[in-house]
């Protein structure tokens, strides 16, 4: 059917539409005219030797739009315009290639004849593009064109792409012709096999089965692959037994890939026999076949898992290890009994594998087995521990808590705490609260750390009790971290300090001093008030705690308090610490403007009594991004102890065009000084690159 006849058909469609909506027809006619006009305008540029990209892209866009549902007349018109151009002698090869690429996406029956003509083109790219365009053309006429060309082409090299195109199309009408080619030597025969595998009809399977008997090497591999594809297709269509027969015919093949594919197909086609088949394969001791069989275990149903597990006892020990692993991964309780039996094996590898498999198939009833194995050594203990950490069955968390409570040995108790933590067993939190009061430091610390991950708001008070009982500084710090973790999980940031504030309000004076640094980690306005009260307190412990709070505060809101302390104190050590704290706090998140930061840094610089802190102030000035900061830092350029930091900060500040450009003259001067002073070559290079003209 030519595109002209199709256009006639389309015109018929238009006539019908005239009766139902003249506006639609008018709009479509307008679209067609627009397409023609665009094509006429773009064609010279599309065919040009340079600068064709924009024209090509514009035309492509129009083609893709024309191929949208409901735009059939436009699609036809676009294809008509391109196929007409294809037939014209003066159309350059590259233009033809471009049009064929469009036809590959939007061409249908109307395009077949013109595209097929290009199968005889002398230009190899045009020929290749025509083949691809026909391969992706949904009209059956494209298949006819490819088949008829195939019959006329004697050279193997020219036949292979045509065969591949027929395979891409997957049309049953190609089977007979491709079957004839199957007997040809490579590459034609192999290409035909691949194409038949894609078409995958029963007829194709029959032809491939016959051909396989007489083939070997790479050809056999391709025919086998095609045959198994046919089996897969039959399986997908619900024809399980024919598919199984294809698979069965391959299992005895001398070719390993054929055997593997055959086995896989049989397993898929006969799911009710899969467990028995897997056992047979494993018992036969064929390692490569075993890889396929074991891989299939994850797809077995519960009944087949039970059958498979029953067969475990009959397998040799190394094979048991493999199957136990697969059963564990399958995570079906139907295997539980057999796996439990295997945990009693005298073979260490089997025993360890069974304990590992209990992580997948075990439940609360198998917990004692794992607990007992935990006390053993080597692989068995490791496997048991991992299973205790990973098994998902209901009731296991509660049973483990009971086990922990009943365990007297501190080392084992700690082990159970770790397991509960790794299980994310939040229901263990109340029990762990008791453990944070344990006389055993190891148990206590492990429990507090676990609570940091498992506890929620109701447990915070109990954790604080544990914290207040500890005297060891490291343990106190760990406890503070754990409590902060729990508080930070409270969704509303404003509420995070509240559980601690409640405890604080009723705590003894000495406990308040211990709690203040903990509160400080969470910040907030109420805590800030407490810190300010503490700084004025006559109680030396409280005052020290408030000062500690300054150094660990989580945001910049504390900066003014720290600066005030630096300015007020006459203690040089505290002054130094305060300048350090100021620099730290100004690096944290907050609402300070750059000018405010700089003002505080200038005041902080006046309080710094050592060069280390002065350098720290200059370093922090990089965050106060104003030209005034550059001027402030530049004052230190001539101080040999501060030069290096001053140069680095200036270059970092002037890295920003928004700071540099409005002040270029001043920036150039400062950068000149940096370039002259700095001994850091890369810094000097950066400075030069920021000067005007660079």
């Amino acid at each position: 059917m030519s595109w002209r006849s199709l256009m006639f058909g389309a015109a018929g469609g238009l006539l019908i539409q005239v009766g139902t909506g003249g506006a639609v027809v008018a709009a479509q006619a307008q679209e067609q005219q627009t397409l023609q006009a665009s094509f006429t305008e773009l064609l010279p540029a599309i065919g040009a030797t340079t600068g064709y990209d924009q024209a090509q892209q514009r035309w492509q866009e129009l083609c893709w739009k024309a191929a949208a549902p409901g735009h059939e007349p436009e699609r036809l018109e676009a294809c008509r315009l391109m196929t007409t151009a294809l037939g014209e002698k003066q159309t350059p090869a590259q233009t033809k290639v471009w049009f064929l690429r469009q036809l590959e996406r939007i061409g249908r029956g109307e395009s077949v004849a013109a595209t097929a003509k290009e199968l005889a083109a002398t230009d190899s790219q045009v020929r290749e593009s025509a083949i691809r365009a026909l391969a992706n053309n949904p009209d059956p006429a494209a298949n006819v064109a490819l088949l008829s060309t195939l019959k006329t082409v004697p050279e193997a090299a020219a036949r292979v792409p045509l065969i591949n195109a027929l395979g891409f199309r997957r049309e049953a009408t190609s089977v007979a012709e491709l079957g004839e080619l199957l007997r040809q030597p490579a590459p034609v025969g192999e290409a035909a096999a691949r194409a038949l595998g894609k078409i995958a009809t029963p007829e194709a399977a029959q032809i491939l089965t016959q051909a396989l008997k007489a083939s070997q090497g790479e050809a056999a591999l391709q025919i086998t692959d095609a045959l198994v594809r046919c089996g897969q297709r039959q399986l997908a269509e619900g024809k399980a037994e024919p598919a199984a027969q294809v698979g069965q015919s391959l299992i005895g093949s001398p070719s390993l890939p054929a055997r593997l594919a055959g086995l896989e197909l049989v397993l898929q086609a006969r799911p009710e026999l899969a467990a028995r088949t897997i056992l047979q394969v494993l018992a036969a001791g064929q390692p490569q076949e075993a890889t396929v069989a074991l891989g299939y275990v994850s797809r077995l149903n519960s009944k087949s898992v039970a059958t498979l597990a029953e067969g475990l006892v009959s397998l040799p020990e190394p094979t048991k290890v493999q199957l136990l692993h697969a059963l564990g991964s399958r995570r079906d309780g139907a295997a539980r009994g057999a796996v439990v039996t295997a945990t009693k094996s005298s073979d260490a590898a089997v025993r360890a594998s069974a304990l590992a498999a209990l992580g997948g198939v075990g439940d609360v009833s198998t917990l004692p087995i794992l607990v007992e194995a935990l006390g053993q050594e080597g692989d068995a203990a490791n496997a048991a521990r991992r299973s205790l950490e990973t098994t998902f069955a209901g009731g296991v968390d509660a049973a483990l808590v009971d086990t922990m409570k009943a365990t007297a040995d501190p080392g084992r108790r700690t082990q159970f705490i770790e397991i509960l933590e790794r299980r994310r067993a939040s229901l263990a939190a109340p029990a762990l609260l008791e453990e944070v009061l344990s006389p055993e430091a190891g148990v206590r610390r492990r429990a507090m750390a676990a609570l940091g991950n498992l506890a929620s708001e109701p447990q915070i008070e109990g954790m604080i009790k544990g914290l207040l009982k500890t005297t060891d500084p490291a343990e106190r710090d760990e406890a503070r971290n754990a409590i902060t973790s729990v508080c930070s999980r409270i969704a509303d940031p404003a509420r995070r300090p509240e559980p601690l504030l409640r405890v604080y309000s009723s705590a003894s004076e000495s406990d308040k001093s211990g709690l203040l640094p903990l509160l400080a980690r969470l910040g907030g306005p109420k805590t800030l008030d407490l810190v300010r009260q503490g700084l004025k307190s006559s109680d030396t412990d409280r005052k020290a705690a408030a000062q500690t709070a300054l150094w660990i505060w989580p945001d910049a809101s504390i900066s003014t308090d720290i600066l005030a302390l630096a300015e007020d104190t006459s203690d040089p050590e505290l002054k130094t610490r305060a300048v350090q704290g100021l620099c730290r706090s100004l690096s944290l998140a907050g609402n300070l403007y750059a000018s405010e930061k700089l003002a505080m840094l200038i005041r902080g610089m006046k309080q710094a009594n050592r060069d280390e802190e002065r350098r720290l102030v200059l370093d922090r000035a990089r965050d106060a991004q104003t030209i005034e900061s550059v001027r402030f830092v530049a004052e230190s350029l001539d101080n040999p102890k501060l030069t290096s930091q001053a140069c680095a900060s200036i270059v970092d500040l002037l890295h920003r065009p928004e700071l540099r450009d409005p002040n270029q003259a001043e920036a150039n001067k400062v950068l000149d000084r940096v370039i002259a002073i700095t001994k850091d070559k890369s810094l000097a290079e950066r400075a030069k690159s920021f000067q005007k003209g660079n």
């Binding site: 892209q57 492509q60 893709w64 191929a67 949208a68 549902p69 699609r75 996406r105 290749e128 083949i131 391969a135 992706n136 792409p161 591949n164 195109a165 891409f168 691949r194 894609k198 591999l221 391709q222 594809r229 897969q232 390993l256 890939p257 593997l260 594919a261 896989e264 001791g285 064929q286 390692p287 490569q288 075993a290 890889t291 074991l294 891989g295 299939y296 994850s298 190394p318 290890v321 493999q322 136990l324 692993h325 697969a326 564990g328 991964s329 590898a349 360890a352 594998s353 692989d379 490791n382 496997a383 521990r385 991992r386 998902f392 299980r423 994310r424 067993a425 939040s426 969704a491 509303d492």
Partner: protein, 402 residues
């Protein structure tokens, strides 16, 4: 003969010991105690550009791996990779190849690492499966949706282990998948995913093919075009004949990560709507459960649920969630190697990889055609738009075919 090779190597008999390590270790921590040569997993690297070589070096860190071959149509690439391998093992045993078919023909190779440009992934994977090799293939795992399905079929046909190479799904997002999958955000209503946009046609100028470059082999199944050096130096991604662009590059990571976290990684969207400047400001995927996933609107991935957002305010949850993770030790490489031994399904198995890349490709098709698409994730067909369906696959250049 091949049976005896496998028997000698006792291919699966170390499965039990592989399970014995209770904690995740980094590959560098696995440096000592190499298994006997007969028990190692022999591998070849096919595609030795930057990513392929980087992955190869990752695998070299595993004592159970013996890298025995490198392959690339660019001589410099394959020889550089071969030198790295031989220096690592302090011998000259690793061989280099121009044609991957010569690698696959070696019966002593158990698994291949595919680090080629995207347009080669499907053909090499399928051929590797036919030859009985397991496959680790870089993301995006395929160039078209039908390639992905064909790869999955081949993996199933030969019972092979396949892992896609998206280490970021678990590696980059810490606790986020657990929180999202576990319901901390409530029902997931919207997901915003950032990555660059789709690929386009290539208009790079023609350059002479330098010595040491097999340009025909580099192009392989892609339509012919003249040589340009940026294409062999990792610059192929913006071009449709070789890649899906940013949508399939980082998209394969991030859409995959988002779908995994939201539990959508075994299905696909039912509707894909390109931006229209009105109701749909962003490319929008609609899933059957009502979840909408957008391209853009974030710097990475943002989840919005009925109870909160991530990043953003949300109820926290410490509960354990029963979801997939890496097996074995050493991240995604360790997961693959563990599964080669045990025949388990790797974390980024072919079905999961195919679903993730399908989303990327559907987004590209919607962008390219600039019209909404309806997708049947079971039949894997675009509904009611025959011409859009023709984008699901592309005929290959002579003599290549799937």
């Amino acid at each position: 003969m091949q049976f005896s090779r496998s028997s000698r190597r006792q291919f699966l008999q170390t499965a039990g010991t592989a399970m014995a390590f209770p904690y995740v270790l980094t590959s560098s921590a696995l440096g000592g105690n190499r298994p006997a040569a007969s028990e190692r997993i022999t591998m070849a690297t096919i595609g030795c550009g930057g990513q392929g070589t980087g992955d190869m070096q990752g695998f070299l860190g595993f004592p159970q791996v013996q890298m025995v071959a490198t392959c690339d149509p660019v001589t410099e690439h394959r020889e550089r990779a071969r030198t790295i391998v031989n220096q690592h093992y302090k011998n000259e045993d690793c061989k280099s190849y121009n044609d991957f078919r010569d690698v696959l023909a070696r019966p002593d190779i158990d698994a291949v690492l595919i680090g080629t440009p995207d347009h080669w992934h499907a053909i090499i994977t399928i051929e590797a499966c036919k030859h009985g090799k397991d496959v680790y293939c870089e993301k995006p795992e395929c160039l078209t949706i039908k390639e992905g399905r064909a790869m999955a079929d081949a993996v199933s046909r030969y019972g092979r282990v396949f892992s896609g190479g998206s280490q970021r799904v678990l590696g980059d997002y810490g606790d986020i998948p657990r929180l999202v999958r576990g319901g901390a955000l409530g029902e997931i209503q919207e997901i915003f995913v950032d990555c660059w946009g789709p690929s386009a046609d290539c208009y790079l100028e023609e350059q002479p093919v330098p010595a040491g470059v097999d340009w025909e082999m580099w192009l392989g199944p892609a339509p012919y075009r003249p040589f340009h050096e940026s294409l062999i130096k990792g610059g192929f991604r913006p071009y449709r004949d070789y890649s899906g662009g940013g949508m399939t590059d980082w998209g394969a990571h991030r859409y995959g990560a988002a779908m995994f976290a939201a539990g959508l990684h075994h299905t696909g969207p039912v509707e894909i709507i390109p931006p229209d400047g009105n109701e749909h400001k962003l490319l929008t995927y609609v899933f059957a459960n009502g979840t909408k996933m957008y391209h853009g609107g974030t710097n990475d991935i943002t989840y919005k649920g009925t109870k909160g957002s991530l990043p953003g305010e949300h109820p926290t949850s410490i509960d354990r969630v029963d979801m997939e993770g890496y097996k074995g030790e050493g991240g995604i490489f360790g997961d693959f190697l563990h599964c080669v031994r045990t025949r388990e399904l790797p974390f980024r198995n072919i079905e999961v990889a195919h679903r993730a890349t399908t989303v990327c490709h559907l987004g590209n098709i919607a962008y390219w055609l600039n019209r909404p698409l309806k997708w049947d994730p079971v039949a894997e067909q675009i509904l009611g738009d025959p011409e859009a369906n023709r984008w699901l696959d592309r005929p290959k250049r002579d003599p290549w075919t799937l």
